[in-house]
């Protein structure tokens, strides 16, 4: 009986209502975008009218005609949630951020009774205007579920299973397939699930189901994961003269870094992102943000990166102030190079990327990351190299073969002069077509009701052609125009 759950049923709606208090009288729909948006969250009134998250705005509006539509603001929601978590620090040093709108507060060792704890937390959260629901229980799952059932509920140890028994299965987060199977077997409530024999149930539905069975019996062995506390390490120099040359500026930065790194070391922290602000005599301010490959507390690395980054900055006046702020702080030590094996030297990589970015621009160095998508141009994303190289789950060829792979090279689309015979290309750019494969019809996003942004709907025919000079092209025919897509090399 030492965990309190503070839960908000729909945090996005609550955050919108907190910003606009007059909204609370009507049904509220929170959408991701105004145009062709989808429902992100809705209040109880909208739910009762049949609106569900994931619906299009059109579908939702047809069910709740008088509902107020609000565009979601994730940044505002995040800031508000962090503010509330910080407020909860006054109740206990152990506060877990489970999800936006769900927090667990560890109360073991805090003086008072559960009722006093709940009253104290209620007092802390009341000024925010967010309608929190609180419950105190011996474990997390019981506290979370009972918070949804009854406000200020206190569950005594040993009574978890009996209190959870009447709740429907849908309160547990489980795969849809498993949920449907259990319903088909006549299991509708947590109580009915708890009565099933554990071993046969796990054999039938797998290890994932074992956890659900434990939850149904009111058993939850998950430990609280306290959120890291925001700490700030900043050092600055102001009013101690001005730096008019690069050498003077670098000396000042190096001096400042000694104190800055001492602060980091004393706190046992490593910095993942360094923010350097330069204030000039002409009131101009330049801000440099250095993303470190791996968090560190070594002044040489900070200095090297700052020096490289300063190569791309042109200052019009003398520097009169420097501020260094550590962000993305982490605890613990770094990995020793001895044990890295064949891994990349991330510090050297960060320095190289910073140097290249300073010379060629911020998006000059990229890395490809794979994500599951239907189209290859959507599956492979060009992402800037940031904290560490992007992990790829794309299955590359793993066996060494004695052959190579034809490379497809994407070229800037250009119009082609094409002569056709029977509707098929016979000459391209004055060259005879020796072989032709296709057409293959491609319809962009035929499965989707709308395209992102203002992208027009596209449907085209594609061909692979071999020309008499040996060139192997992929061309496309769209709206009576022939375009070059790419080259096989």
């Amino acid at each position: 009986m030492s965990i309190v759950c503070a839960s908000v049923p729909s945090f996005a709606v609550a955050a919108a209502c907190q910003e606009n208090p007059h909204l609370s009288d009507d049904a509220i729909l929170v959408v991701n975008t105004h145009e062709r948006g989808r429902i992100v969250a809705c209040d109880r009134q909208a739910l009762s009218l049949g609106v569900r998250p994931g619906m299009t705005l059109l579908q939702a509006s047809s069910r709740a005609r008088d509902a107020v539509v609000v565009v979601d603001d994730p940044a505002r929601n995040h800031a508000l949630w962090q503010h509330l978590l910080t407020a909860l620090d006054a109740a206990s040093p152990i506060v877990e951020d489970a999800a936006p709108g769900i927090a667990f507060i560890g109360m073991r060792g805090i003086p008072g009774t559960p009722q006093m704890w709940l009253a104290r937390i209620h007092q802390i959260l009341q000024p925010s205007g967010i309608p929190f629901q609180l419950a105190c229980a011996p474990n997390k799952i019981t506290a979370q579920l009972m918070a949804c059932v009854q406000q200020n509920c206190v569950v005594e140890p040993g009574h978890e299973a009996s209190l959870l028994a009447p709740l429907p299965l849908s309160v547990l987060d489980m795969p849809v397939r498993l949920y449907e199977q259990l319903l088909a077997l006549g299991v509708y409530t947590l109580g009915e699930l708890a009565t099933l024999p554990f071993a046969p149930f796990v054999r039938r539905f797998g290890n994932e189901a074992a956890l659900l069975h434990e939850y149904a019996r009111g058993i939850d062995q998950r430990l609280l994961a306290p959120r890291p506390h925001a700490r700030q390490i900043t050092r600055c120099i102001f009013g101690e003269g001005s730096a008019v040359s690069q050498d003077q500026l670098l000396v000042a930065i190096r001096t400042l870094l000694i104190d800055f790194v001492a602060d980091l070391t004393n706190a046992g922290l490593r910095c993942g992102r360094l923010r350097c602000t330069l204030e000039c005599e002409d009131a101009e301010t330049h801000e440099l943000v250095l993303q470190l490959a791996q968090p560190t507390a070594q002044s040489e690395i900070f200095f090297d990166l700052l020096k490289v980054r300063l190569e791309s900055v042109t200052l019009q006046a003398a520097v009169i102030g420097i501020r260094l702020s550590a962000e993305a702080l982490e605890e613990g030590g770094g990995e020793i190079a001895l044990f890295r094996g064949n891994e990349l030297d991330l510090d050297a990589l960060a320095t190289t990327v910073a140097r290249l970015s300073a010379f060629l621009g911020d998006r000059a160095v990229t890395q490809v990351q794979y994500r599951a998508a239907h189209r290859s141009d959507e599956a492979f994303l060009d992402l800037p190299v940031v904290t560490r190289p992007h992990a790829n789950t794309y299955a590359t060829a793993t066996t060494v073969h004695d052959h190579a792979q034809l490379m497809f090279r994407i070229v800037s689309a250009r119009a082609l002069q094409v002569e056709c015979r029977n509707g098929l290309p016979s000459r391209i750019e004055q060259q005879r077509v020796c072989h032709l494969a296709g057409p293959w019809r491609y319809e962009q996003r035929w499965w989707s009701t709308h395209l992102p942004g203002d992208t027009p709907y596209r449907s085209d025919d594609q061909f692979d052609v071999l020309l008499e000079d040996g060139a192997l092209w992929r061309i496309t025919h769209q709206d009576q125009a022939w375009m070059l897509c790419g080259i096989y090399d």
Binding site: F359, Q367, V400, A404, Q405, L406, I410
Partner: protein
């Protein structure tokens, strides 16, 4: 004696040599991952060398480069960098094809440069960093000093430097340790033409035009396979 006659004379001489002389590998070379190419190069490529891969667009230059980078990133487990000019005529590599070639994408870094100066500076920085086992850039027109400098840097850091393109300038040809030339021989299709046809692959002849560490002149035929690419 014309260059063609000279090549033929060398070929005839090579044919008369005992096989043990031909296949003797030069120590210290790094395998390319392609057994035929290793044989043609007498063991592989020298770490810290500058290699040019020349050939018309479509002759298999990119495919060969990707195969070599796959050996570096996947087999050797090291990092590689690919310097590209996205606006150039040859375009940019398709990531799906690179992945199909066996390149470990998490170890491959793309650098986009717009002009020759950017290419040279980027190449310089990448080699100097010492973390890339291979760096590839297009064969652009640059002064002899630039290529000399890049070749020396590559040699100092043990980095394989590849220059790929249709034509290598005389300065680049001079600095190169190995010069490979690709010529497309045949394209393979499956099925009847038109809608039932599909690109299967190609054959390319690779000629070792220059090799500072072993005898040049060897020719091999390399098979290129095509993995169907979604639109």
């Amino acid at each position: 004696m014309s260059s063609f006659d000279r090549i033929q004379a060398f070929d005839q001489l090579r044919a008369r040599l005992p096989p043990t002389v031909i296949t003797a590998a030069v120590p210290g070379l790094r395998s390319t991952g392609l057994p035929q190419l290793d044989t043609a190069l007498r063991g592989g490529l020298l770490p810290g060398s500058l290699t040019t891969i020349e050939g018309q667009l479509g002759s298999g230059v990119s495919g060969l480069l990707a195969r070599l980078l796959a050996t570096v990133t996947h087999h050797d487990g090291k990092a590689a960098a690919l310097i590209e000019q996205p606006q150039a005529r040859q375009g940019r590599f398709d990531p799906a094809s690179l992945a199909a070639a066996g390149i470990a994408l998490e170890r491959l870094f793309f650098v986009h440069a717009d002009n020759e100066l950017g290419l040279a500076r980027a190449c310089d920085m990448l080699i100097r960093s010492g973390i890339f086992a291979a760096v590839a850039l297009p064969t652009v027109e640059m002064r002899a000093q630039v290529w000399t400098r890049l070749a020396l840097l590559a040699h100092k850091h043990g980095c394989l430097l590849f220059a790929t393109g249709q034509h290598a300038s005389s300065e680049l040809r001079f600095c190169a340790t190995v010069r490979l030339h690709c010529t497309r021989m045949q394209v393979q299709w499956s099925g009847m033409p038109h809608v039932f046809s599909c690109l299967q692959g190609a054959h390319t002849e690779i000629t070792v035009k220059k090799n500072k560490v072993a005898a040049p002149g060897a020719r091999i035929q390399l098979r290129y396979l095509h993995k169907a690419r979604p639109a």
